[in-house]
Structure formats: structure tokens, C-alpha cells
Amino acid sequence: MVFGPNGSGKTTLVRVLGCLTRPTSGWASVAGFPVHTHPLQARRAVGVLTHAPLLYADLTVWENLLFFARMFGVPQPGQRIEALTECLGLTERLHQRVRTLSHGLQKRAGLARALLHSPQVLLLDEPEAGLDAPALSTLETLIREHCAQGGAVLLTTHQVAWGLSLAHQAIALWEGRVALREARPQEYAPAFQDAYRRLLAGAGG
């Protein structure tokens, strides 16, 4: 779980690990693949959800997911799309253009795209923003199931209590560097929240 104020580098971290931005210095690897030397393997191993759903506005949800399934070489894409969209409550919207969906539904469709190829690592940049309570509950279930199946999730959020309730490890970024680190965040949630509050107060002062 990654926390941090605006501009601390959370989105940049997700973009670098998702091979959307080249690191200007240093190195990064995801699922054991260095992003600069093995970008294809790294991309295959990750599913990315950023602030935008990364879908084509004039295509339907089905067409978008079919396109990305082809690009990721998903076997039996039809079945996979049906299963995922049912799980995310999108079955009724499958043949609706993305442009006509609400922000929350677009986010769900974006999540379906990120999960389509069953990635080892999920990179979720503030995924809870714009989701209603049932969708948030589905997101939590998906994250827990993904981790239970041996996958990893890197999630950025401003919702500290919610984030800590899901986290196995937590860090807080400050100006692109790790300012706080907690290996057992659920056990030490109050202490982490206090330290994070002090970090933000220090930033404000």
C-alpha cells in the first residue's frame, strides 16, 4: 500500500512499474523483470489501472475488452470477459459505449481491462475514487482473492484507514522517496496513521 500527499510520486511509481513512463535514473523491476530491459515480460506480468480507464470511448465495453484480450493473447477471451464483467457488475453494460458510462462504471470497466490477462501484479492508482459502496466491496474482494492466489497488488490511495485494512505492507512517499515504512500495517495501524499525520503536518508547516 502506497500513501503520500499530492505530488509525492505515487502515480509516477505506478507508471514506471507499468512501463508507461521511462525512469530518468535508477532502475525498476516488476515480477522479477527489469522494466527497461524486459518491457514485454514486465507488461505481460502487470495489470494497470490509473486515474483514467484507458479504454476507447467510442467502443463498447465488450469491444474494448475483446481488443485488449487479443493484445494480451488471452485464451477463450469471450468466456473470460463474461466472467469478469459479471463479477464487476457490468453484464448489463457490456454493449454500451464507454463514453456513455458514469465515472464509476468506467472505472469498473478499466479494472476489468487490468484483470483480463490474470496478471501476477496489479498496479492500482487510487482505484477507490469514484466507486460506490458495492463496487468498493467488490474491489476489496478482488484484491483479497488476487493476493490469496499468490498475486501481488500495489495500490496507491489517500484513504489511510481503508488502505491499511487491506495492506500487507505500507509505505508513505514524500517528494519521490520512501518517508515511512511499515511491515505489519494492520497490527500497527494507529502508530502508522499518527506518523503519517505528522508527516503531512510537517509538509504543511
Binding site: G18, C19, L20, T21, R22, L40, Q41, R43, R44, V46, V48, T50, A52, P53, L54, L55, Y56, A57, D58, L59, E63, N64, F67, F68, R70, M71, F72, G73, R97, V98, R113
Partner: protein, 223 residues
């Protein structure tokens, strides 16, 4: 190999579907180049003796505008639709994305040319079936697209892409435009040997553009 072909077809299918839905590329381009050719044909009042001198210039002005306007939209549409970054997260080589966008671009432009060329032939009293003219136009379109896709991807993140793209595109595509123009001129003057030589040169430019374009695309889409 099969997955590469599936991904390639996926990109072309997606571009065709987006064009069918948005109608932002082929239809406006067709209207524009037809208007251009009709205006020129009336302006020059082409008599038979003048046709070989005037017609190639008219055709290649239209094709050059067609290419430039087409490429401005090719990647802009991708960005405006919001899927460009989604495409960049896919585990396919950038050269495959280049090939997909190139083939989609060729299909769009050839689609416009299939309508344009017979009307151009009718307006300038030329035979409808001049296979070498069609071949010259197709080869030049391929060269246009090979360069245009690269510059379109380069300009997509800039605010002044409508201005920037022609500035970048024209100097590099000029040899192909001149070769196409000279081929058309030789065909209309009934000089098959000269036309053949220019046609070979157009093909050479196409190969050069395709190789360099494919090699550069990875760096261009890197950020």
C-alpha cells in the same frame, strides 16, 4: 507468430471500428480532396494538350493534403479516445503497433483514393483504368503512411500538432511525393520507361521509410 498476427489484426480492427463510429477521418478527407480536385479541374479548364502538364500537380496536391490531414488525426484520435496508454501497456513490440497503425492508415487513405481516382480521371478526361497510375498512387500512399505514422506518434503529445506535423512531415516525405508526381507525369505523357524508373525509386523510398520508421517507433512511443 499467431499471437503477433492476432495483435496486428486487433489494432486494425479497432481503428476501423473507431472510424466507423466516429466518422472523423475518411469522410471529411474525402469531401476535402474531392472539392480540391473539382476546383482545380474548373480552374485549369484542362484541354487535352494541357492534361499531362496540369493533372499530375492537381492529383499530388490532393494526395499530399490527404496524407497530411489524415496523419494529424490518426494518433490524435487514439489519444482523444483515451486508449493510447492502454495500448502502451500491452505486451506487444512497438514495431507491431507501428505495423498496425500503418496498415490502418493505408486502408483509410486507399479508401479515399478509390473514390478520388475515378472522379479525377473523369474530370481530366483520362481512362479509368491506368494500372500504373493506381500502382504509383498506392506506393506513394504506403511511403506517406510509413513516414506519417512516425511523425503522427511524435506530434501526438504536442499542443500544436496540426502545425508541427506538416513541418516535420513534408521535408522527409518530399522525395516520395516528387517520385510519385514524376511517375504520374510520365504515365500521362505515355513514357513507360521513365515511369518505370520513377516507380522503382518510389518503391526504394517506401522500403527506406518502412525500415527506419519501424526502427524508430520504439523510441518515439517510449514516453
Amino acid at each position: 507468430m499467431r499471437s503477433a498476427l492476432t495483435a496486428l489484426w486487433g489494432i486494425i480492427w479497432k481503428d476501423l471500428l473507431l472510424e466507423v463510429r466516429s466518422k472523423e477521418l475518411v469522410l471529411p478527407l474525402l469531401v476535402f480532396v474531392l472539392a480540391l480536385v473539382v476546383l482545380f479541374s474548373f480552374a485549369f479548364e484542362a484541354r487535352p494538350a494541357l492534361v499531362p502538364l496540369v493533372a499530375p500537380g492537381v492529383l499530388w496536391s490532393a494526395l499530399t493534403f490527404l496524407g497530411t490531414l489524415g496523419f494529424v488525426r490518426l494518433f490524435s484520435l487514439e489519444r482523444e479516445q483515451g486508449g493510447l496508454e492502454g495500448l502502451l501497456t500491452c505486451p506487444v513490440p512497438r514495431s507491431l503497433i507501428y505495423a498496425g497503425k500503418l496498415l490502418a492508415g493505408v486502408l483509410f487513405l486507399v479508401g479515399v483514393e478509390v473514390v478520388l481516382l475515378p472522379i479525377f480521371s473523369a474530370l481530366f478526361n483520362l481512362p479509368f483504368l491506368l494500372p500504373r497510375l493506381w500502382l504509383a498512387t498506392f506506393l506513394a500512399t504506403l511511403g506517406f503512411c510509413a513516414v506519417g505514422v512516425v511523425f503522427s506518434a511524435m506530434a501526438v503529445h504536442t499542443r500544436a500538432r496540426e502545425v508541427l506535423l506538416p513541418v516535420l512531415f513534408f521535408p522527409v516525405a518530399l522525395p516520395a511525393i516528387i517520385a510519385g508526381l514524376a511517375t504520374t507525369s510520365a504515365i500521362l505523357k505515355n513514357e513507360p520507361e521513365t515511369a518505370g524508373r520513377w516507380l522503382s525509386l518510389t518503391l526504394a523510398f517506401d522500403i527506406l521509410y518502412l525500415v527506419v520508421g519501424g526502427a524508430l517507433f520504439d523510441y518515439i512511443l517510449g514516453e
